[in-house]
């Protein structure tokens, strides 16, 4: 049989259609819901971030209510940290810049060294980074509540360890939280590619 130009066109048309179908399903596939879940009859109860109450760089009280109906990215750091935090903050700034036009997206950075990182110090830090407190909250609070919420709600490591050069161990994770307080992604906040993935996932989550 002779292979004609028409046949080739016919083929490529189908290949394109197939590629488009795969591409679209890939885009529409929802992000996973992370953490343990309970099945209660016909309902599935997903893990959500526990209620919290912290104070931000403007001395404003920040609670879950401020994040209801919002998508947010959370992390744990401290201002005097010289290991991974500066890299995390460089990367979080990228997320901040990428979400300038997204009023429904907020950032929440918890200090794990509340004794040193006072409200005044966090205020100065945020101002020096040149970021708005309306979109990026730097919060402090009771040390125990911060460590507890890190470990039991966000599944991120945060604790004091005098044997470490800076006195703390903590993960460099960025957590993506949806409008209902559920964890939808965990990323290494010290790696540019991971943060690119986070920014992509954020956009997908907004379309949900």
């Amino acid at each position: 049989m002779k292979y004609t130009k028409e046949m080739r066109l016919h083929w490529t048309k189908w290949v394109w259609l197939a590629l488009m179908a795969i591409g679209c399903t890939g885009l529409d596939k929802p992000l996973p819901i992370l953490g343990p879940r309970e099945v209660d009859g016909a309902d599935t109860l997903y893990h959500t971030i526990a209620p919290f109450r912290f104070v931000d760089q403007d001395s404003a009280v920040v609670t879950n209510a401020d994040f209801t109906g919002k998508i947010y990215v959370a992390d744990f750091f401290f201002t005097s940290c010289r290991t991974i935090c500066p890299i995390m903050k460089t990367q979080m700034l990228r997320v901040y810049e990428a979400t300038t036009e997204m009023p429904d997206v907020l950032l929440l950075s918890h200090t794990i060294d509340p004794e040193w990182d006072t409200v005044a110090l966090l205020h100065d830090y945020a101002e020096r980074l040149g970021v708005e407190s309306r979109r990026w909250h730097f919060v402090t609070g009771q040390k125990d509540s911060i460590y507890k919420i890190a470990q039991t709600s966000y599944f991120a490591t945060a604790m004091e360890d005098r044997s470490e050069p800076d006195g703390f161990i903590h993960s460099g994770a960025f957590l993506l939280i949806d409008r209902r307080g559920r964890i939808r992604g965990k990323y290494d906040g010290t790696k540019e590619e991971e943060v690119n993935r986070l920014i992509g996932d954020l956009k997908r989550l907004r379309r949900e």
């Binding site: 005097s80 500066p86 460089t90 700034l93 101002e127 020096r128 040149g130 800076d166």
Partner: protein, 141 residues
């Protein structure tokens, strides 16, 4: 042979024969490694710093004018306000007390011969007297 080829040969000949001090080269390689390890998290890989939190090292007037203080702060840390290129910074910098005189010289040589500046070798033998000149932090009680 075309003019372009003659030009290339001349360039190669000049660069191959220019006296690149092997000691300087060694300091730069080791200095860069130590810089990436101890300094680049905050001051960034390209020496640009981070907004008004961490000051730049590239094109920094502070660096240019304060070699003794730069050496001292790498080993003993630096606290309080400093002005770099007209901007006030106030982020405490922890020192790295384990750095030897040779390592301090290597990092300094890297800082003072990167990002558009070429000051030449800062010899390890210069570091001892510089360290003696700076006030060491009082031990915490």
């Amino acid at each position: 042979m075309s003019k372009r080829w003659i030009g290339l040969v001349v360039v190669l000949w000049v660069t191959a024969c220019s006296p690149i001090d092997p000691k300087l080269k060694q300091y730069l390689v080791e200095g860069e490694r130590l810089y990436v390890l101890h300094c680049s998290n905050c001051h960034q890989r390209d020496g640009q710093g981070l907004r008004r939190v961490y000051p730049p090292l590239a094109g920094s007037d502070y660096l240019k004018e304060n070699l003794p203080r730069v050496i001292c702060s790498m080993k003993y840390g630096l606290q309080g306000e400093i002005i770099v290129n007209g901007i006030m910074y106030n982020q405490a910098m922890p020192g790295v007390p384990s750095l030897t005189e040779l390592e301090l010289a290597e990092i300094a040589t890297y800082l003072y011969n990167s990002w558009g500046t070429q000051t030449g070798l800062i010899d390890a033998r210069r570091i001892g007297p510089l360290l003696d000149s700076c006030a060491r932090p009082r031990p915490r009680r």
